[in-house]
């Protein structure tokens, strides 16, 4: 087992699946699901390898670092791959129900599967890339696939959203690429490991850092660059929204994290504080806006803005616990937000609208869905026992340990804000409404997938030591002496 080239397989398998779906559209659902299962198995295989042998570096075609393409898998990559695999599997199952029905015609279903598998390919490649140019390519691929998926919903909103998203995405990538150019010029390599050895502060590096960070922040939709996110996430089809919120925005955060940790270790504290401050602003802004929304999907999208803010609180804290906390937040948010968008999708599917004020008639006939929403909400609020709680705990602990308690305050208040909007929605499950409502039955797969994803978000709170040990492989955050 140990000599199988899992990293390559993990990238090639969804690609092959995507091509197959493209070639045999009639079988696309079956092919897609099989591919999803296969990818999960392969990621598990890679995981086994990494756990046994430590961080893996794999030179594609045997060319090696400076010239060829290297793939690198350590705990961080593995964790991202795992999240992608699990969420991806969930979304695949969900989509098999979602796109099968009359509303989204055979046509759309045919388009969905290949594009989604390409997107998965891009994600896997991104998390395994060991050099910054490769990261650019995969990021761009990811962006294009995501845009295509958003446009899939059809209608003015979705298409405009997709267009907006495309422009923003390209813009961000170009910023990033400019930074890559400057870095390459300075140090003659794009390999992260080599850069990490050679890099030293110089104006060019500062410039590159500024450009890359700006580009990535734009893609990660950190406040105030989040302006594009809510409408895009709200107008896309439900599984796509889930995908965007759970995985796509996280990809650019992952790149940012890698660069920050390895290429720009000298980044000064002021910048970190600035990022933290923006994160805090995002938490409040997103939270308040979420509370004020009248439509469910917009609300969830704004909550994504807020949750992304949490991730940036780790920058000023800058210690292993802090990073782990942010990563854990990322994990649990991925699971929880997937569940939430799926739940919202079910509600839309069932009732044909997602106006919060008229939710009661719908949600009371979809108990599993509202349960999924509530469970996911628990994780988002950071109540125990959930992944969100573990993340909040770790971040809070770091904040207090490093005597920067105000970041802890942000966490706490942000949690209260999310509690407010979660219960605003969940409260409708308990009203008395006897108005009959035209409804379409929701396929059981859709309801159960949403519920399972939500349960996963909760269970993340109980398996933290195991996942944290996984994250330590190859010590992506350095040894404990920074914090």
């Amino acid at each position: 087992m140990s000599d199988i080239h899992w990293p390559v397989i993990v990238i090639l398998l969804p690609l092959a699946g995507g091509v197959a779906c493209f070639l045999w559209p009639r079988r696309s659902v079956l092919l897609g699901l099989l591919t999803a299962l296969g990818v999960v198995a392969c990621v598990a295989g890679l995981g086994g390898q990494v756990v046994e042998q430590g961080a893996q570096r794999y030179a594609v075609g045997g060319w090696g670092a400076p010239l060829g393409i290297d793939l690198y898998a350590d705990g961080l990559s593995l964790l991202m791959l795992t999240v992608t695999a699990v969420v991806g599997l969930g979304i695949s199952v969900y989509s098999s129900g979602y796109f099968e029905r009359a509303r989204y015609g055979q046509d759309r279903a045919r388009h969905f599967w290949p594009v989604w598998l390409f997107l998965w390919t891009a994600l896997n490649a991104l998390f395994l890339s060991a050099d910054i140019f490769n990261l650019y390519v995969t990021l761009e691929l990811l962006g294009l696939a995501a845009v295509a998926l958003v446009a899939l919903a059809g209608g003015a909103d979705a298409v405009s959203g997709a267009m907006r998203y495309l422009l923003v995405s390209l813009l961000g990538s170009l910023f990033y690429l400019l930074g890559v150019a400057l870095l390459y010029h300075s140090f003659g390599s794009v390999d992260i490991a080599i850069l990490a050895q050679r890099v030293e502060p110089s104006p060019a590096v500062w410039a590159a850092m500024g450009l890359m960070i700006v580009g990535l922040l734009l893609k990660t939709a950190l406040f105030p660059l989040h302006f594009w996110l809510p409408s895009v996430h709200a107008s896309a089809p439900a599984p796509v929204s889930a995908l965007l919120s759970a995985l796509v925005v996280k990809a650019s955060f992952y790149i940012l994290l890698r660069l920050w940790l390895e290429v720009f270790p000298f980044a000064n504290a002021a910048l970190a504080q600035l990022l933290g401050l923006l994160g805090a602003a995002a938490v409040f802004w997103g939270g308040f806006q979420a509370l004020r929304q009248t439509r469910l999907k917009m609300l969830i999208a704004y909550s994504t803005v807020a949750q992304l803010g949490y991730l940036f609180l780790a920058f000023p804290l800058a210690s292993i616990t802090g990073w782990t906390g942010a990563l854990y937040m990322l994990l649990s948010h991925a699971a929880a937000k997937t569940a939430m968008f799926m739940a919202a999708g079910n509600i839309l599917y069932f009732g044909g609208h997602d106006r919060i004020a008229d939710l009661d008639r719908v949600v009371q006939r979809l108990p599993l869905t509202i349960t999924a929403f509530a469970l996911a909400g628990i994780s988002i609020m950071g109540l125990p026992p959930s992944g969100g709680f573990i993340a909040k705990w770790l971040l809070l602990e770091t904040a207090i340990r490093s005597a920067q308690w105000w970041w802890g305050g942000v966490l706490i208040l942000g949690g209260l804000l999310s509690a407010a909007w979660v219960f605003k929605v969940v409260g409708y499950a308990f009203t008395r409404s006897e108005v009959p409502h035209e409804a379409r039955a929701v396929p059981a797969t859709m309801e159960w997938t949403a519920l399972l994803m939500a349960v996963l978000a909760i269970l993340l709170g109980l398996f933290a030591p195991w996942l944290l040990a996984l994250l330590e492989i190859g010590s992506p955050f350095g040894r404990e002496n920074a914090g």
Binding site: E140, G143, L144, A156, S160, L167, L171, L178, Y184
Partner: protein, 102 residues
């Protein structure tokens, strides 16, 4: 101040110009063009900075990058144009409407 650096500065200039156009123009076609201009700027910078030391042969790797970049940019432009047509078909205008705040 060598020519390579000059090229690089021009590239940055193109990038900025493109950014300005992207922001200022409402019409989608202009926006797409602006993005393309920006991309060209970046590629110019990449190519120009390939000469790392005075007089030596330029490094080939950035050129390979540029080629990759161009491929990406072409496909992105294609997608963008297709989307623009869809936007026009759906809204009747090739512009992004300002969304009402709900």
């Amino acid at each position: 101040m060598n020519p390579a650096f000059l090229y690089a500065l021009v590239g940055v200039g193109l990038f900025t110009l493109g950014l300005y156009a992207l922001i200022v123009h409402a019409h989608l076609l202009r926006k797409i063009l602006a993005i393309n201009v920006m991309a060209s700027g970046v590629f110019l910078v990449l190519v120009a900075l390939a000469t790392r030391t005075q007089g030596a042969a330029p490094d080939p790797v950035p050129h390979a990058m540029v080629i990759t970049g161009i491929v990406v940019a072409v496909s992105a432009t294609a997608l963008a144009l297709a989307l623009m047509l869809r936007v026009r078909a759906e809204t009747g205008r090739a512009e992004l409407a300002e969304e009402p705040l709900e």
